[in-house]
Chain length 326, copies 2
Amino acid sequence: MIRVGIAGYGNLGRGVECALSKSQDMELVGVFSRRDPSTVKTVTDVAVFSMDEIEAKKDDIDVLILCGGSANDLPTQTPEMAKYFNVIDSFDTHAKIPEHFANVDKACQENGHIGIISVGWDPGMFSLNRLYAQAILPNGKDYTFWGKGVSQGHSDAIRRIEGVADARQYTIPVEAALESVRKGENPELTTREKHTRECFVVAEEGADLDKIENEIKTMPNYFADYDTTVHFISQEELNRDHAGIPHGGVVLRSGSTGFNDENKHVIEYKLTLDSNPEFTSSVLVAYARAAYRLCKEGQKGCKTVFDIAPAYLHAASGDELRKNLL
Amino acid sequence: MIRVGIAGYGNLGRGVECALSKSQDMELVGVFSRRDPSTVKTVTDVAVFSMDEIEAKKDDIDVLILCGGSANDLPTQTPEMAKYFNVIDSFDTHAKIPEHFANVDKACQENGHIGIISVGWDPGMFSLNRLYAQAILPNGKDYTFWGKGVSQGHSDAIRRIEGVADARQYTIPVEAALESVRKGENPELTTREKHTRECFVVAEEGADLDKIENEIKTMPNYFADYDTTVHFISQEELNRDHAGIPHGGVVLRSGSTGFNDENKHVIEYKLTLDSNPEFTSSVLVAYARAAYRLCKEGQKGCKTVFDIAPAYLHAASGDELRKNLL
């Protein structure tokens, strides 16, 4: 059994707990939290420890899955934990990945551990599909569409507006743009042509709705470059109809082959996810299996999904995979 | 530059020649054919050699791409050539993959070479996507649909019927079945519910068309289990409208997460290909790059797409991949 620890117990940590409970070759040793452990109730009643105790558990855990946030937790936590454990994280600040990679690699190399960073679906499975598609069709064009799904960042931005009590924002790909790419038309698409934004907003009593709607639609970076729809609804409606955290998206590459580029090809990878954190957790758990196996082979250092052969992720043996899946 | 040889010069060999002509880090050393080299004209005017001369070229070639057929050529050719070269093939007889793997592995281990077998899209990219999706969603169901595309085997079967001069058969996925899977309904599908078959047949002068149509529709294994449509057309129409070799298909996995399996997820990988052999060739060339790099690292033995980390396929460095694609 692969012994796994979880550091951080929010939506992602709970998702990892759930995914581990269904993996026959893995067991959850415990959850580590910065909160007082007596206040943290896990779904499967697994033990909760204070983060301060984590170093003492280093011989009991084969892989530590870090479930904190990319903005404030992971940049320091992943390299620090890589001193004691093989680590996996879902670091998703694209621009800072090279720096994070270097920091985690240094800690892993010095301490003989494996680190796998930026695991999830974007970065993660979407990145993988961009790589495979580019390698196969070097002469082509990449497209990534996100949604339909909840953007936490955009929902938070709306909630910061005066007079807003609560909000949920959906990112939605423009179907006409998707269809054009699927037909191999290689369109040049502006930000506005790729996605629309739909907002469900609960206003405070007596708030100026026109003012809120205008502030949302003109907000730089978040909404100004998009066609945005705003719906005012009650808190009850928001709780009833928008409690889920669905997401997903599509990665496409459209390319050509032939001596005169006469043959077109489209590669499409599409995810439709009821729960963004639970799917990300499931990817983390598969890569935790890979980290364990790589460590057993004596490898060390920081890796990404690009560096891991697919067979390491699956519980079955090479013989079984060749027989049943190839 | 990675020096590549091609063994066998049909549609696949020509596709590899074309893909290599567009790869900046690879060069084509020559084509090897069992035909008299003076009768073989390559598109890029690259040298053609007799297969009998191939062993003498072993120091001039880093990777040999085998472009013969799975039925008669590759089972003996790939292990034989693995004595002298790093080899890649597109062996696609699913049931015989374990045996072929063992034979190629033996030759590779004894001679310090890398062999990568069953490279293409199915087996190949479809297999990879089955593996990734199963590893991420262990609780789920797999589906593979093929087409719309030309099946060479089914076209040949029709051509063997008395009174048939020429024929082209298309395999077509049933849209309603695909939509049900995409919705996460996890349907149980019979052979007939998954694909239909459409045949374009050129009959010989005076042939009995009803008899031909009946023979096609009742042919065991090939057509009897499918809803089949037969169109009689002229040779001119066949040549004009059905000269291409399009293919493609969809691999889906529909699975659930959550402590009560309350969240559904669908992973879809779809290929839409104008030219089946040219796409397969493009995959072969990407894996030739991987074979070269693995050999440079001192690795040996037989591998499949399951055993190769994605980064080996792409011409860019690890730093560039992390910066631009992750």
